[in-house]
Symmetry: C2
Subunit: 599 residues, 2 copies
């Protein structure tokens, strides 16, 4: 009781403060958890180095920025994050969105570009933090699965297309699929043979590692988990081999683009721009990046937490991701979030606590201090190949077929998001997707299923008169509304009642069966009053049946119920029994009922 009392009191002002999960897991830290974390960190570091470089290039930034974005954010996430195994850092889709947003304000490669990216990370971090502190995480719920799915698939295609230019050794521009392909087609004659050969071979190798290496390794007797981890090192092998060849054979002298000089040293201290006009223009992209990053991060976090019967706090995750992005903006990074592949690797390799993220951050820090000279000769085409192989696994057109079979509105949302993202760009794609899915939801709830029901003879059940052989009476209409009543559908109930009245001249009673109505808002209440009033003018009484408790509680306070010409019945059967008892008698006397709709 004492504990629960203290919980209750802490639910006051303290619930508005972010918690520090590190105080929980840090207290129980021991040698065993250290070993698990350290091994996982080593593997994740090896995986993260090429990814960081590649995603920085994808975002239009120098490769070292990717490493910078993989230090402070990881430390801050370890401090605030509620997931034990989430690995944050640069990810493909967010990097693409960064490129699209920053590209509006500065040319990639120009001196003005990086500060805009820092500002984007700052705004995104501030928004995530604010959403977390204000408990606004539910905003992310308005990105539906079909929209996310269509968006991720389209982004995967966009990213792959954007990397083709590096694979071909040409320049190409465009933030949508059509522009990109058109630009590539124009540039095709300038294709660099050597770059293309290295790029294509690396891509083929990486695909083989994904699909063919694991069976081979398990065939050789390796455990499946170890085999899995070895295959994740494929990109590192590709980088090592192509860098060595590039150095020995002097590929850069033959026109191949290499990574070149990466500044050695700690991540720099940086500041975002304080230009409010820039903030205003970056606000929408920052919001979209925040929401997409949060959704991606939370879904992988939840999936992994559930495997160990742990759970994550979405609002706490907002705080942690906010802190990570603020950290990125002050240490030379760009927008980051929790990545799917690396978190799974972290989990599989045995990470026990967020300390694994701290060790990973130190691993990356070592790389920025020591490893960067070794990456001088790394061909950019190798990085492009690792990106292409990684993002093509995101592309899933199966969602189109699945939603087509299951739900046409969801199919429409996927298709609209996919097309808008490919045809216009990432931001428009997301906004179109959210708009279409909300509009379709509202449209669906605005036309509720309202069934005219009749009595199934010999029972107390009522069923749709159009589907079942049921008893009705010319003096009574029973309508069952299969939706909560609110402003968008209140008038369609009025229409339906008007129709019923106009169709049945002998009508004396109209009963609304309210069993599926979870709420009645003020508009619907006024519609009910209007219905009651109009029915009264026509000499018809309005009755209700099977009203839910909470709905009844609120109706009791209203004039509507006080003035109601009819009654409120506990069950629909009681209503019919009281109002048109002849209907029950007839049903008992009648033989087998004739179907109400002759075939």
């Amino acid at each position: 009781m004492a504990a629960s009392a203290s919980v209750a009191s802490s639910a006051g002002w303290q619930r508005w403060l972010p918690s520090l999960p590190i105080l929980d897991w840090g207290r129980r830290y021991n040698r065993e958890t250290f070993t698990g974390d350290a091994v996982a960190a080593l593997i994740v570091t090896i995986m993260l180095i090429p990814q960081s470089l590649a995603y920085a290039l994808l975002a239009g930034l120098p490769p070292e920025v990717g490493l910078y974005a993989s230090v402070a954010p990881l430390l801050l996430y370890a401090l605030f994050g509620s997931s034990r195994v989430l690995a944050v850092g640069p990810v493909a889709v967010v990097s693409l969105m960064t490129a699209a947003a920053v590209g509006e304000h500065a040319a990639p490669g120009s001196a003005a570009y990086w500060p805009v990216a820092l500002t984007l990370a700052f705004l995104s971090g501030a928004m995530l933090l604010a959403m977390g502190l204000l408990r606004l995480g539910f905003i992310a719920n308005f990105l539906s699965h079909p929209v996310i799915s269509g968006f991720i698939s389209a982004s995967g295609l966009l990213i792959a297309a954007s990397q083709l230019k590096t694979l071909m050794g040409v320049k190409a521009e465009g933030h949508n699929f059509v522009d990109l392909l058109w630009s590539l087609a124009n540039q095709a004659p300038q294709t660099q043979g050597l770059t293309l050969a290295v790029g294509v071979l690396t891509t083929a190798f990486l695909f083989w590692v994904r699909k063919g290496l694991k069976p081979l390794l398990t065939g050789w007797g390796l455990g499946p988990r170890l085999a899995d981890i070895v295959t994740k090192a494929g990109p590192v092998a590709a980088i090592a081999v192509t860098t060595a060849l590039s150095w020995r054979l002097g590929w850069h002298e033959q026109g191949m683009k290499i990574v070149g000089a990466i500044p050695q040293g700690l991540p720099p201290l940086t500041l975002p721009s304080w230009d409010l006009a820039l903030w205003r223009e970056l606000a929408m992209p920052a919001l979209l990046i925040s929401v997409v990053g949060f959704v991606e991060s939370v879904s992988v976090g939840q999936t992994l937490a559930a495997k160990r019967r742990q759970r994550i706090e979405p609002d706490q995750e907002l705080v942690a991701l906010g802190a990570s992005n603020l950290g990125a903006s002050f240490t030379g990074g760009f927008p980051v979030t929790g990545g799917f592949a690396r978190s799974v690797v972290n989990f599989d390799a045995g990470a026990q606590t967020p300390a694994a993220g701290v060790y990973t951050a130190f691993g990356i820090l070592l790389a920025t201090l020591l490893l960067t000279p070794a990456l001088f000769y790394l061909p950019q085409a190798t990085l492009a190949a690792t990106i292409i192989v990684a993002v093509l696994s995101l592309v899933d057109f199966g969602i189109l077929k699945r939603t087509w079979v299951y739900s046409k509105p969801d199919f429409a949302a996927v298709a609209a998001t996919l097309l808008a993202t490919l045809a216009v760009g990432v931001e428009s794609g997301l906004l179109v997707g959210v708009g279409v899915s909300l509009a379709l939801y509202l449209w669906r709830t605005s036309r509720p299923h309202i069934a005219s029901v009749g009595l199934v003879p010999g029972t107390e059940h009522f069923r749709n008169v159009l589907r079942h052989a049921v008893r009705t009476s010319p003096a009574l209409v029973s309508l069952r509304v299969d939706e909560s009543l609110y402003f968008a559908n209140a008038r369609s109930l009025e229409d339906r009642v008007n129709d019923a009245v106009a169709a049945q001249p002998e009508l004396r009673h109209l009963v609304l069966q309210c069993s599926a109505i979870n709420d009645i808002d003020a508009s619907a209440l006024e519609s009910l009053e209007a219905i009651e009033h109009r029915l009264g003018d026509a000499g018809i009484a309005l009755h209700l049946s099977e009203v839910k408790g909470p709905v009844m509680d609120r109706l009791k306070e209203t004039d509507f119920l006080r003035r109601l010409s009819g009654q409120v019945f506990l069950t629909h059967y009681q209503a019919v029994a009281a109002l048109t008892p002849e209907m029950l008698g007839a049903a008992e006397l009648a033989g087998p009922p004739t179907p109400s709709r002759p075939a």
Copy 2:
């Protein structure tokens, strides 16, 4: 059967054509209906003349434009309208919205002003017609009652404030309440004593006619209906008296503004502007005017139709109002819609068919040909007084109290609409209102009521464990979701399940009671799959109970149901009986249950 077959076939392409209700009522026209229509038309004409002049001035247009807008639109409505008694023409709120929209593009009184108003009527007419032909009338449903109510009240205040300048004989500007009052306060020293005196006295007279005259007349032995109609002639009396005084006493020579010369003759043939840039800028105001006009018109039409057990077709009304506004744009008018007061008068005076509208149009036509010279000396302050008295009856702050008591989200929508309309203007007010009410609806449905339920001992009923003394089992959790599952609330179900799993270490079965779920969209299906997957990882089986027929039909096609670790039970009691029979046994053995939540 033959009749229903022809109905079914006409439901094909013919339902895309507007119908001509005149073919129905025209066929049965006779002397009796003619008498009713003619009497009603006479009374409505007398009422409509001052209103038309006044609302044209309110819209910033010359007074005769109000008369022009009361001819062709009435004829076209009579041809297409489905209401027998709706009287269309200029109305207060639409005139205010016209002034706000046109004022953005031309100065009131300038030569450029009228063509913009014609274009607005044209666009609004085209939109209404398109919405009618495409069966898009449901769009109007997204204006909730609270939003309309707040908007109409705020508009009433705005209109009254805008007329104060005419009452005071000064110039004042502003499309929102604050600007208007500020401007009036600044102009107060220039107030014209005579104008103010006439205005205030007329206003007082008209208020007395509304409140005090009817009891007096019935006291003198007049029938209540006749007394009602006589009181509606109050504005005409005020106009006659003040015009006569103004003429005899030469008020205009003492600086009072009079209506002045009104061109005599038929409504002119006019064309809207074909400037696409102007169209683009007028598109949003035209849409808002269309929707507001449609909502106002349909609600009065439905109320009056119901009194005679008739009904109106909302989509047909869209066509009719569209035609009326197109007619207005080609005959020198401005946006019109069905008016509340004049339709009630038309109904009460005994109008039987839309032919009454035709006769009213001819009455107005006669007025434009013959009456206009008699209105030369009519003080503008008299017209302002008629407007003020008419619109203050629209102001209803009671809605604030009613929604506060009944539903806080609805209160928020009313308050936001009221404040935004007063503080910013009519368009912003409406858009804010729609935005707020949709956001609150989505917010509410995004946090569904999910109750953990337990067995009421000795019954087969399950109730919320927080509210009732019920039996539960550490091995089983029963969750009842009181909302359809869709993308915005799917994740909150995931959260709730995660909480339940984390709280009960001995959990083996989780049963979702689906009795209130009317739909499961693709996002919610994926959430269910994720839940199933995570529960599976934790060794917990997911079961469903009481799934509705249509929902089950769609689930049957999915992998989710094929792979479901648990079962689907017809009733929740069957689920508990099969999964944790010890719970039922314990209930039977136990004494009176201890409340699950000690007080």
